[in-house]
């Protein structure tokens, strides 16, 4: 034990019955391990560069082939020197040759230990086979026209159903939900959970895509996965998956890896987004809350225009109403005037009637007075007349017989009968009218001859 690099362990500190040496302090052992690894022969390795992760001081990556992998680390200043010497920068998927040796970071009380192959030099071993294969497939799909069909599909800005293919436990799921919530979208979301980074991933994604479109009736499908190495994202360069997506009738939004990663799915999909959040925003093309506000505003504007359009009719109605009011006022005024005028004759009549009654009373009074007066005068006249009559009667009684006698004598002197009795004949017309001239007698055909004792007809002889 005198040759052991470790300090002597205390008595009876180990596992009873164990034949192994120790126990030794782990820090001493870790330092010894580092020394041992560093003493191994420095070599060159060749493999595919994957999972490239630059940090502040070192650049980490893995060197991988079909049989195994070695984690590698290179100081940042050495990495930059290597980039300066090469025409093309080493990138994911490239075949590279690295020179260096094994190293071990023993860790500390607060940091974890780690093994790495400390790279001191690097050169590209030609274009990486994986990238070259992917590029050949991309060119083939392009030549077959399969990079365009998805981009020609109609994508609704406001889908009712969205399908999402992603890992069930991935962060992409939460990002998509949060982005859809910010959009104010709350439709039907169908999750097609599938592995997204192993050899089973591509067939599962193909199956989920078909089912989402056929069964889930998704109007748009998001395929989402977070960042990773090219090897992790290799399933999204699967030829069957890419051909399926290219010929799908539903638009696919790809969100695979970070913005620096570019898979074949990004090329064939309708839309390629850098993050699941962007994919969700691309799936719902409108901010639903804002759209609701916009529609409400549009409805208000339409209402405004509709009201403005019919306002002239309203104004006409208002004018008509005002005219009606004016007319009503005018009619009322006229009616009041007519009522006043109609009352005027009655008033006038009343006044006239009153006056007439007054005059009538005056007339009656006057007539009464007059009648009394006339009656008195009449009585006086009657009295006078009676006295005069009495006097006249007495006088007549004395004179009348003698006057009558004289009158009878005078009258008898003029009686034609006395003349006829003396032999005269009175010639007259048949009507008894006397014919006093011979000319008139000649004009008459027939005449009557009146004698004292009778009348006889006679004819006029004109010869």
């Amino acid at each position: 034990m005198s040759t052991s690099p470790f300090s002597a362990p205390p008595e009876d500190a180990g596992i009873p019955g164990s034949t192994l040496a120790g126990p030794f302090p782990v820090g001493e052992y870790a330092a010894a391990l580092r020394a041992k690894l560093r003493s191994l022969t420095r070599v060159q390795l060749v493999g595919e560069l994957v999972n490239l992760r630059p940090s502040r001081a070192r650049v980490y990556f893995e060197l991988r082939d079909a049989d195994g992998a070695i984690p590698c680390a290179v100081w940042l200043k050495d990495w930059e020197a290597m980039l300066a010497g090469d025409a093309a920068a080493p990138a994911e998927g490239m075949q590279v040759v690295v020179a260096g040796g094994c190293d071990y970071y023993p860790g500390s009380a607060t940091s974890s230990p780690g093994f790495s192959f400390a790279v001191t030099d690097l050169r590209l071993a030609g274009e990486g086979d994986l990238l070259a294969r992917i590029d050949r497939l991309r060119k083939q799909l392009d030549a077959e026209g399969l990079l365009d069909p998805q981009k020609r599909l109609y994508q609704p800005v406001l889908p009712r159903t969205i399908g999402v293919i992603t890992g069930e436990s991935g962060k992409a799921r939460d990002d998509i939900l949060a982005a859809l919530a910010r959009r104010g979208w709350a439709g039907r979301l169908v999750w097609g959970f599938a592995p997204v980074q192993d050899r089973h991933a591509a067939p599962a994604i193909v199956r989920a895509l078909s089912d989402l479109c056929a069964v889930g009736r998704a109007e748009v499908v998001i395929v989402a996965r977070g960042g990773g190495s090219l090897a992790d994202l290799l399933c999204f360069c699967d030829e069957t998956l890419c051909r399926t997506v290219a010929l799908l009738g539903t638009p696919v939004i790809a969100s695979v890896g970070h913005h620096t990663d570019r898979t074949l799915l990004d090329d064939v999909a309708a839309v390629s987004c850098s993050t699941p959040t962007h994919a969700a925003e691309a799936a719902v093309g409108v901010d639903c809350e804002r759209a609701r506000a916009d529609q409400a505003n549009a409805a208000a504007r339409l209402r405004h225009h509709a009201e403005r359009a019919v306002r002239p009719r309203g104004e006409q109605a208002a004018v008509a109403g005002r005219l009606r009011d004016h007319a009503r006022q005018a009619v009322l005024a006229r009616a009041r005037l007519l009522a006043t005028l109609s009352r005027a004759p009655a008033t006038h009549l009343d006044r006239q009637r009153t006056r007439l009654h007054q005059e009538l009373r005056e007339v009656r009074a006057a007539s009464t007075r007059r009648v009394a007066s006339e009656r008195r005068r009449t009585r006086e006249y009657a009295l006078a007349l009676r006295r005069a009559t009495d006097m006249s009667i007495a006088d007549c009684r004395r004179r009348r017989p003698r006057e009558l006698e004289q009158l009878a004598l005078a009258l008898a002197g003029h009686d034609p009968q006395r003349t006829l009795e003396r032999g005269y004949v009175l010639v007259g017309t048949t009507d008894g009218e006397p014919l006093l001239t011979a000319s008139r007698a000649r004009e008459a055909d027939e005449v009557k001859l009146r004698f004292a004792d009778g009348t006889i007809p006679a004819k006029i002889d004109r010869t």
Binding site: V157, L158, G184, V190, G216
Partner: protein, 83 residues
């Protein structure tokens, strides 16, 4: 042939078609060049389109419905008549 050229068999306008047409209608109305009859026609058309938009927005505004594809497929397979 565009959808607007197919009488009777026209599918209802999509949300974006309806929203775009509403914007067009309002621009026309705002221009003040529309006659009374055109204004009334445009207002009537616009109201119909806004109802379409409101219906579409309501369809994605009530509550998020989350389904798992596997469950959906399983349910449909159970509901399918035996062959």
């Amino acid at each position: 042939m565009s959808a607007s050229e197919q009488p009777q068999t026209d599918p209802p306008p999509t949300y974006e078609q309806a929203a775009a047409r509403v914007e067009e209608i309002i621009r026309r109305l705002d221009s003040g060049e529309a006659s009374l009859n055109e204004t009334l026609d445009l207002v009537k058309e616009g109201k119909g389109l806004i109802e379409v938009c409101a219906r579409e927005l309501a369809a994605v505004g009530d509550a998020l419905e989350e389904l798992k594809l596997d469950e959906l497929v399983g349910r449909l397979e159970r509901e399918a008549p035996p062959t």
